[in-house]
């Protein structure tokens, strides 16, 4: 709950700054609808992410709401990002640090923090990084099920990757791409569970961009015994407020 309050304050501060500063502010909103082996039928999620660019620096915060899913939580994810663009000779990249909180049930939570490098050579978007995952119980579960508050499971140095190829150059007004990745805005899978997506965007006018993604998730590919896990459609807008 405390984290939720802090994140709300964080987002609020960003909004205040937008009002008074002339830096670049961008809002992304999207909705996911699909099915997984654990969603108990159709799931629907929505998320809003705000990012604030000042010079070579960027901070962003986002929240995920589960509108329909197996769990009873509505507020299911928080994402905080700080990034800085950098250059080594002619090599441009962005360094990003992040914190991710997933409240997937009323019993337990998952936190991830980590760092990654983003590269955008022509027609490609590449992400590589590492993350540190912790599973822990929530306070109410510790009391209700008589659990030990110190019980935590850590998975360290998880590899993060995302490899995307686009048909057109990044500055084109529309594009279509394919990606293989183990990350999304509110989830970091094990590196051995790659997910695939087909994605595209259309720049409607200067500030507004429409985008859509189709994701396919599988289990067991690296065990050479692959099975369907889930599929979902994402659609949303990016509003470049300026």
């Amino acid at each position: 709950m405390r984290l939720f309050i802090y994140s709300s304050i964080f987002i609020f501060l960003i909004l205040i700054q937008v009002t008074y500063a002339s830096a670049q502010f961008k809002v992304t909103g999207y909705i996911d609808a699909g099915h997984t082996n654990v969603s108990n039928g159709l799931f629907i999620k929505t998320s809003g992410l705000g990012s604030y660019q000042f010079g070579k620096n960027m901070v962003a915060a986002g929240m995920q709401l589960d509108l329909k899913n197996y769990n009873s939580n509505v507020f299911s994810g928080l994402n905080l990002i700080a990034a800085r663009e950098a250059r080594i000779k002619n090599f441009h990249f962005e360094f990003q640090a992040f914190y991710l909180l997933t409240l997937f049930s009323d019993i337990s939570r998952e936190t991830n923090w980590g760092m990654m490098l983003n590269l955008q050579p022509e027609h490609f978007k590449l992400v590589v990084g590492t993350s540190f995952r912790t599973f822990a119980y929530r306070k109410r579960a510790i009391n209700e099920y008589n659990l030990n508050a110190d019980d935590k499971i850590h998975e360290n140095w998880n590899i993060i990757y995302s490899i995307s190829y686009y048909l057109k150059r990044h500055e084109n007004e529309w594009n279509i791409g394919v990606s293989v990745t183990n990350i999304d805005h509110y989830i970091i899978n094990q590196e051995t569970n790659p997910n695939f997506n087909l994605n595209g965007y259309y720049q409607m006018n200067a500030p507004l961009r429409l985008f859509a993604e189709v994701w396919y998730k599988s289990s067991g590919a690296f065990n050479l015994s692959v099975n369907y896990f889930g599929v979902f459609l994402r659609t949303g807008i990016v509003w470049d407020i300026g």
Partner: protein, 288 residues
């Protein structure tokens, strides 16, 4: 450019052929599954309907169960030691949590020949990913039947529940998950202790190419096991033993039993005065 593309395609084809020709790996499983998890589950349920769950009755209050995984037969030296120990320790049952074979029919035959009579020592089998290679599910099913079921052990004073799950495809799938939820919610409360056996280990404590269930599935399982007081989850797959205590559930990953492993071993559960005690038995140092 055209030459480079052709060269890369040729290299890919040669590599694919080399993998598919391998006797122990079935690379086609990376893109397709012979028998998807929901189809295997349906067959397991058909088997269960014709073969009701087993109730093992022990005459003492305390009892022992042995478990092993990843024997990858071919070799049977450690498998024989495992069964010899199980008999010597008067185990109430043994549970074999998958990757018992390479998936090849001849290895299933060898494995089957080394299993003692079910009346002398009840053995419970679960399919692992290797058991499914080369259309191996049909071999598994024709010899052992179901890969999703439960059995019970009854002492003078209490009854304990043991649930076996099929994660050979890296996921429980929708139907098996629904079955598990129902068992835990409706049947679990009738029993003193509850232990779950399955092939895939849950947590990633070291860097390895073997795959765990998707994070979203892990979250659901953690919740199910916590809410329904599952005391222990016993897995294999990763070949190196590990223990993670999370809440009231102990998550075990066993060493592989396979001949030639650096530290081959099995797992011993002792139920003493109603409490679960356990030991990892390392065959390298056990005097066998």
């Amino acid at each position: 450019m055209g030459y480079r593309i052709k060269k890369n395609i040729a290299l890919l084809l040669v590599t694919s052929f080399a993998f598919t020709s391998c006797e122990e790996l079935d690379i086609s499983g990376m893109v397709r599954s012979y028998d998807p998890v929901n189809a295997r589950f349906e067959q397991s349920m058909e088997w269960n309907a014709a073969h009701p769950y087993r109730e093992i009755i022990v005459t003492d209050d305390d009892y022992t169960i042995l478990s092993m995984g990843d024997s990858h037969v071919g070799g049977t030296i450690n498998l024989d030691i495992f069964y010899k120990d199980a008999k010597a320790k008067k185990s109430a049952a043994v549970v074999l949590v998958g990757d018992l074979t390479t998936g090849q029919a001849e290895d299933y035959d060898v494995f089957h020949q080394h299993i003692p009579n079910q009346d002398s020592l009840p053995s419970f089998f679960i399919a692992g990913n290797h058991d499914l290679y080369f259309n191996g599910w049909h071999q598994f099913y024709s010899r052992f039947g179901s890969s999703t079921y439960f059995f019970t052990v009854e002492t003078n004073t209490a009854k304990d529940l043991f649930i076996c799950l099929d994660t050979g495809g890296g996921t429980l799938g929708t139907r098996q998950l629904s079955w598990l939820s129902e068992i835990l919610q409706k049947i679990r409360p009738e029993y003193r202790r509850c232990t779950v056996f399955t092939h895939n280990n849950f947590f990633r404590n070291r860097r390895t190419s073997s795959t765990n269930p998707q994070i979203e599935e892990l979250r659901v399982l953690i919740e199910l096991f916590t809410k329904n007081h599952v005391e222990m989850v016993i897995t294999g797959h990763d070949h190196v033993h590990d223990v993670q205590l999370f809440g009231n559930t102990t998550y075990i990953t066993m060493d592989a039993l396979e001949d030639g492993q650096k530290n081959p071993g099995y797992f011993q559960i002792n139920v003493i005065d109603g409490y679960i005690d356990y030991r990892f038995i390392n065959l390298k140092y056990s005097g066998n």
